[in-house]
Subunit: 382 residues, 2 copies
């Protein structure tokens, strides 16, 4: 065995034709298309088709793909019953994970590695996630889940399910862009978890449950929940600088690794792959600014800008996708513990794309550990 | 970036003091103790304490650890309600995964990375798995879940929960050994999945849900289900040889990778790490023989022996843990689709050990992919 890198940093775990991350330049491409080009010109449904099938759909294909998604809409009865039985303080990610796991028990396609069956499952999962996330957001707030007009785009449909009425075209467009920005990111931890599950030939639902389990952590999708909570805690732009100062100086309660890493203390900064601010963060910052102006919730944006400046002055850490997305979520009226669910509603497109790619050319993902425990020894007489 | 190995074969993903696998010699050690030494002298509860805490417990510690496990016994009401609501044909692993995901919603410890809280969670998970597996086995067969005397060992307690009565000491001992044999195996796919989830600082329940999701696949825990189904399908010892012959010759419906790998066609043979029959398989073969004699279910053992001989004559693949464990499960009266659940009841000890180790010295597990997709291109006018 050879030298190894902690956390598999920069270690290649497989080939993929889906997503390219240029960490030095802060660029991101889906199937060759730059992320800013996609958010400017392509709706999320077409981005999903691109991720799954390899090419942007033509007009007819796009309509057919949207019709498939549309036909899958609706909250399954058993999922509704489950959500209604959960404690109201259940974290939305826990509710989502349990619901998707349950949905496997009534999925009509039983063959785990049949490509056509998996495309049907992926379509159902693309819808199951927003339906579940929206229903839980209503149920935990004492409201009844609603349905929504089938004519709406994926983003508008989801917002309607959450709010009980159709969003303005501007707000729907913001969420459409947010979903595309979160749709894929190469072998991030949750996507890698999905591929590890598929590589045992577990079924697609199992893979998505594994991905949701892994997304929850604050070192991954859970980070934007922490960002929004932090910005709300700061409360006033004038307090941002001192807050950053004190977080960067904090050492108590941190592990050795955390103490050495400032991004462990100010969520929304630092990334395993990016060395500069990434393209997603740039798009989100622009949107956060216009949303803040449009909704009058400018204070949080100002706090975010102050935190951003304070971090730039003190560290070389790039801002990441979680930071300004939290401001956008706040402007959309989304509470902190709901942020990671929105991330999942976008990322499920990429999870499914990677699962389909893994099924198509599979090999068990099974690394080794360097053993550092006791030498061989015998059990003493007992 | 560097050259890479498909499936992370032989790639070191981290350090661990828990388990050592010697693939060349077919040896397995937990914390330095050889697996045969442990199964001969140490009950599963003490093996669990060894995996979690690093040393075999002394007599007093052992009693205290067993008392902690004992105090956690009982099927939580919400899990019982969930199981009773599932379709009867739900796969036991799907039921288990959903139940553990649900249990996160009422777990009293909320801090994800507090070591003491995680030990309490691990104790609850050690019990939740056998309780859930046994309850679902009864419910899906139209029976009511039962409780069992608290004086029983972990293995005997589980069998009592399944069967409604205490097992004989001999049968309890067989299951105790089976659980120890399955308790850990370094960075197997499900354990690796648990560590990937923990590395995002997701909570312990999320990590175990991810592990169960990953265990399900027939290239991992799902294999012993396939072995038992295969042995039952063969039906007669005289048909074993021809069956193996025809499976090894089959090419239709297999991927390129599967065609090149005979173990993809005869479950129970071949392993990513072992080059020879492993120690677990040797222990299980002996147990399978005595169990078959004791229960009079000798035919299945004979079929297994014939398959084993036929594979030895035709391939260099070692027999693995899944092969003879299937015969043992059959002798215990366990149906094929219940086998992987037994695997989980043992392996949860190792999943928790690795999760605790990952929490104690964490770093995000996030590899890279080699991009093989289209070169940068612009979205055409739409």
């Amino acid at each position: 065995m050879e030298a190894w890198k902690a956390g598999l940093e920069d270690v290649i775990a497989g080939r993929s034709a889906i997503c390219q991350v240029d960490g030095e330049a802060g660029r991101l491409y889906y199937r060759g298309y730059e992320i800013g080009d996609l958010t400017a010109h392509v709706p999320f449904e077409d981005v999903t088709a691109l991720l799954w099938l390899g090419e942007l759909p033509g007009a007819g294909e796009s309509e057919r793909f949207k019709a498939r998604l549309g036909a899958a809409r609706g909250l399954p009865g058993p999922v509704r019953d489950l959500l209604q039985s959960l404690p109201r303080d259940t974290h939305p990610l826990d509710a989502l994970r349990t619901a998707v796991s349950l949905a496997a028990t009534f999925d009509p396609d039983t063959r785990a590695s049949d490509p056509e069956a998996n495309l049907r499952k992926a379509v159902r999962l693309m819808i199951l996630l927003p339906e579940t996330v929206a229903a839980w957001q209503r149920i935990r707030n004492g409201k009844t889940p609603v349905s929504a007009p089938t004519s709406l785009s994926h983003a508008a449909y989801f917002l309607n399910l959450v709010d009980g009425h159709a969003p303005s075209p501007e707000v729907a467009r913001v969420l459409d862009v947010v979903l595309t920005l979160h749709a894929d990111h190469e072998l991030n931890a949750s996507t890698f978890a999905a591929r590890v599950a598929v590589a045992t030939l577990a079924d697609l639902h199992a893979a998505i449950v594994s991905a949701i389990s892994t997304l929850k952590g604050p070192r991954h999708g859970g980070a934007n929940e922490d960002v929004l909570a932090m910005l709300l805690e700061i409360g006033e732009p004038s307090r941002a600088e001192r807050f950053v100062e004190s977080r960067l100086g904090a050492r108590a309660g941190l592990s050795k690794h955390e103490r050495g890493n400032p991004q462990m203390r100010v969520p929304g900064f630092g990334h395993r792959v990016y060395r500069v601010d990434d393209a997603r963060a740039r798009v989100l910052r622009g949107m956060a600014k216009s949303m803040a102006e449009a909704t009058g919730r400018q204070k949080l944006f100002e706090i975010a800008e102050r935190v951003y400046d304070a971090m730039r002055a003190r560290t070389t850490l790039p801002v990441n996708v979680d930071f300004f997305s939290a401001v956008v979520y706040d402007a959309l009226g989304i509470p902190p513990d709901f942020c990671t669910s929105i991330f999942a509603v976008g990322r499920v497109a990429g999870w499914c794309a990677h699962a389909l790619e893994q099924f198509a050319d599979n090999r068990l993902i099974r690394p080794r550990a360097e053993y550092i425990g006791p030498a061989p020894r015998a059990v003493a007489a007992r």
